[in-house]
C-alpha cells in the first residue's frame, strides 16, 4: 500500500491556514508527490475557527473527504483549545504542532493526548511579529512542521514560498517570511 499522509489544520480565519495548507502541498508536489489541499468552506468571518486539510501521497489520491484520522494536526491559535477538540481522531502515533507560548510539556498535559502522540510547540506568533511585523503565524509554523515531521524539506519550503510570494510581495517581505521559517525550524520544541 502506498503511503498517504493526512494533515489537518486548525486556525482562526485570517491566520493564513489555507495558504499554509497549500504551501505544504505545493512543496510536496515539487518532490513529485500527489497532493490535495482544501479548506473547509463555511461562513467566512475573520477570527472564526476553521479547518483546512492537506494530503500528500506517493500515489494518486482518490479519496475526497475531510480528514478525520490525521497523522499530523497543526494548530495556529492555542485559544482554540478551549472550544475545539483539535486532536479528535488523531493517529496513535500522530504529531501535534501548536503555535503557543506554552512549553512542550505543558502543551502535552493541556492536550491530554496518548503517550504515542508527539507534541511540538513553537511561538509562531512571536516569531511572525519579530520577523514579518504582524501576527501571521502560517509561514513559521510550516518551518516547524518541516523540522518535526519531515513531510517536506525546509529548503524546498523556502524555494516554493519565494516563488509563490514573489508574485505579490516585496523582496523585503519575502525575506522576512523566509527568516520566520528558519527561526521556527530552529526553535520548535518537542516534549
Amino acid at each position: 500500500m502506498s503511503e498517504l499522509i493526512e494533515i489537518r489544520w486548525h486556525a482562526r480565519a485570517g491566520q493564513g491556514a489555507v495558504t499554509a495548507a497549500k504551501l505544504v502541498a505545493d512543496t510536496a508536489l515539487l518532490q513529485g508527490a500527489y497532493i490535495q489541499a482544501m479548506p473547509e468552506y463555511g461562513p467566512e468571518r475573520t477570527g472564526a475557527p476553521l479547518k483546512a486539510y492537506t494530503r500528500v501521497s506517493d500515489a494518486p489520491i482518490e479519496v475526497h473527504n475531510t480528514i478525520v484520522n490525521p497523522h499530523i494536526v497543526v494548530v495556529l491559535d492555542d485559544t482554540l483549545l478551549d472550544s475545539v477538540d483539535v486532536t479528535e481522531g488523531i493517529k496513535d502515533d500522530g504529531t501535534v504542532i501548536l503555535n503557543t507560548e506554552m512549553t512542550a510539556t505543558e502543551a502535552q498535559a493541556r492536550l491530554g493526548v496518548p503517550a504515542g502522540v508527539k507534541v511540538a510547540v513553537v511561538d509562531a506568533s512571536g516569531i511572525a511579529i519579530d520577523t514579518i511585523g504582524r501576527d501571521i503565524p502560517n509561514t513559521p509554523i510550516v518551518g516547524a512542521l518541516a523540522k518535526v515531521t519531515g513531510v517536506v524539506p525546509v529548503d524546498l519550503v523556502k524555494e516554493r514560498l519565494t516563488e509563490t510570494f514573489g508574485k505579490k510581495f516585496s523582496q523585503e517581505m519575502i525575506d522576512a517570511n523566509l527568516r520566520s521559517v528558519d527561526r521556527a525550524y530552529e526553535e520548535v520544541q518537542t516534549a
Partner: protein
C-alpha cells in the same frame, strides 16, 4: 508527450483552462458559488487577450443561457458555466438549447438546491437537467474536469451529435480542492478541438433558415423522437472522441469506469468525486481478499445502459449511491437508471439505494465501510433487497429502508 509539468490547481481552474484552449467565440455567464471562479478566471483570460471570446455579462442565468442559445443558433462556438439555483433558473432554456440542437458547452459545479440554503456539493441541480436532452458528464477529479471539458467541444459540435454538453464537477469537493494536475499544450488542444464549422448557423448559412419554430402534435413528437435518437446515438461518438483524447494525453477514458468488475461480487455504482472515496476503501478490501468492484458512469446522459449491465453481470449484491433524491419516488435517479439497465439486460441482484452527501455532507470512510458491510448482508440474505436509506442518518427515525417498512 506535450503535457505540462505537474502543477497544483482546482477543478474550476482546470475547466477555465480547458475553455481557454478551446477559445469559444462567445461566453455569456453569471456568477454563482461554487462555479464563480470558472468565469472569473475566464474573464481574466478575456481581459488579458489570451482568448478571442466575446464575454457577455448578463443580469441572470436565464439571460446567460438565452444569450448562449442566440449566439449558438447564429453559428458561434459557445461556452458558459453555472451551478445550483443558476442552473435551475436556466431550466426552460436548457430544453430550448437541446431542442434546437445547439452545441453549447456548459460547466456545472454541482451544488445543492434551496431550501434550506446550502452552497455545497450534491447532484440535486444537475439531476434537474437529466431529461432536458443535454449530454451530461461527471468528473471525479480536477484532472478529469479538464479532460471532460476538452472533449465536450468536439462531442457537442460533431455533425452527428449537435447537442449541448454539460461538463460537471462536484461543488467545493472538486471545484475548490487543489490537486495535482497536468495540462496539454495549447496547440495540442486547439488541433484536437478543431475549428467549429456550423452546418446550420443562422448567420453562417448561405440560405435563410428558421430555428425554434412552432410545431403541432405530429411534427412536435417527430422532433422529440429525433432528439431521443440524437442523444442515444451520441454515446459511440462520446466514446470515440474520449478514446482519441486518451490516446493524445495518455489518461484513460471509458464511458463507464468499471474498477475490478471482472470478478466482482459486491459492486457499488456511484457518480463523481465520491467514486474516489469508494475506490479508496475498495482497494483496502481487495487487498484483504474481498471481491469488490466500483462502477462509475463518467457519462450519465446518454445513460450507458449496456456498459452498466456488463460491469454488474457478476454481482451478488449492488449498492447504488445517489447524491440527489427523487422526492416522492421510490429511488434516487441513478438507482432508477441502473435498475432499468439491469432489467433490460435480464439481470438482477439484491440491491440497496443510498442517498448520501446531500448539501456536501461528508462521505467519510466509515460510511463507505458501512455500504460494503451492507453489501455482504445483501449477498447472504440477512439484509432484504430493494431498500432505500439516507446514508449516515441510520439513527434518524425511519431513515433506514424507507420504502421497505
Amino acid at each position: 508527450m506535450t503535457a505540462t509539468k505537474p502543477f497544483s490547481a482546482t477543478g474550476n481552474q482546470m475547466i477555465a483552462e480547458a475553455m481557454r484552449q478551446a477559445d469559444p467565440d462567445v461566453m455569456a455567464a453569471y456568477p454563482i458559488t461554487p462555479q464563480t471562479t470558472i468565469v472569473e478566471n475566464y474573464a481574466k483570460f478575456v481581459a488579458n487577450g489570451a482568448v478571442t471570446t466575446e464575454f457577455v455579462t448578463v443580469e441572470s442565468e436565464h439571460s446567460a443561457m438565452s444569450a448562449c442559445v442566440g449566439a449558438s443558433a447564429a453559428g458561434a462556438r459557445v461556452a458558459t458555466a453555472t451551478a445550483s439555483q443558476g442552473l435551475a433558473l436556466m431550466w426552460e432554456e436548457l430544453f430550448i438549447a437541446a431542442g434546437m440542437r445547439l452545441p453549447i458547452v456548459m460547466a456545472n459545479a454541482n451544488r445543492a438546491l434551496s431550501a434550506p440554503i446550502n452552497i455545497h456539493g450534491d447532484h440535486s441541480d444537475v439531476m434537474g437537467a437529466r431529461d432536458t436532452g443535454w449530454i451530461l458528464l461527471f468528473a471525479e477529479t480536477a484532472q478529469e474536469a479538464y479532460d471532460n471539458t476538452v472533449i465536450s467541444f468536439p462531442i457537442a459540435e460533431d455533425p452527428d451529435v449537435q447537442l449541448p454538453v454539460m461538463t460537471t464537477l462536484d461543488g467545493f469537493i472538486t471545484s475548490h480542492a487543489m490537486e495535482r494536475c497536468v495540462m496539454e499544450d495549447d496547440e495540442t488542444v486547439r488541433s484536437f478541438v478543431g475549428d467549429y464549422a456550423p452546418a446550420n448557423g443562422l448567420l453562417t448559412s448561405p440560405t435563410p433558415l428558421g430555428a425554434g419554430m412552432f410545431a403541432n402534435g405530429d411534427s412536435y413528437m417527430k422532433s422529440r423522437y429525433m432528439l431521443r435518437h440524437a442523444i442515444q446515438d451520441s454515446l459511440p461518438v462520446i466514446e470515440r472522441v474520449g478514446k482519441a483524447w486518451a490516446d493524445t494525453c495518455g489518461r484513460p477514458f471509458d464511458v463507464v469506469d468499471a474498477w475490478e468488475c471482472d470478478d466482482a461480487e459486491l459492486i457499488v455504482v456511484v457518480l463523481g468525486s465520491a467514486a474516489g472515496n469508494v475506490r479508496h476503501i475498495a482497494r483496502e478490501l481487495r487487498a484483504a481478499g474481498k471481491k469488490v468492484g466500483v462502477v462509475r458512469p463518467r457519462v450519465y446522459r446518454p445513460f450507458p445502459v449496456k456498459q452498466i449491465a456488463e460491469a454488474c453481470k457478476g454481482a451478488k449484491a449492488i449498492a447504488i449511491m445517489d447524491r440527489a433524491d427523487s422526492l416522492g419516488g421510490q429511488y434516487g435517479p441513478l438507482a432508477v437508471d441502473v435498475l432499468g439497465a439491469l432489467a433490460s439486460a435480464g439481470q438482477s441482484a439484491p440491491f440497496h439505494n443510498y442517498i448520501y452527501g446531500l448539501g456536501g455532507n461528508d462521505l467519510t470512510n466509515d460510511l463507505v465501510h458501512k455500504v460494503f458491510d451492507d453489501l455482504e448482508k445483501l449477498a447472504d440474505g440477512s439484509l432484504g433487497t430493494g431498500g432505500t436509506s439516507y446514508l449516515g442518518m441510520q439513527e434518524a427515525e425511519g431513515a433506514q429502508n424507507i420504502w421497505l417498512g
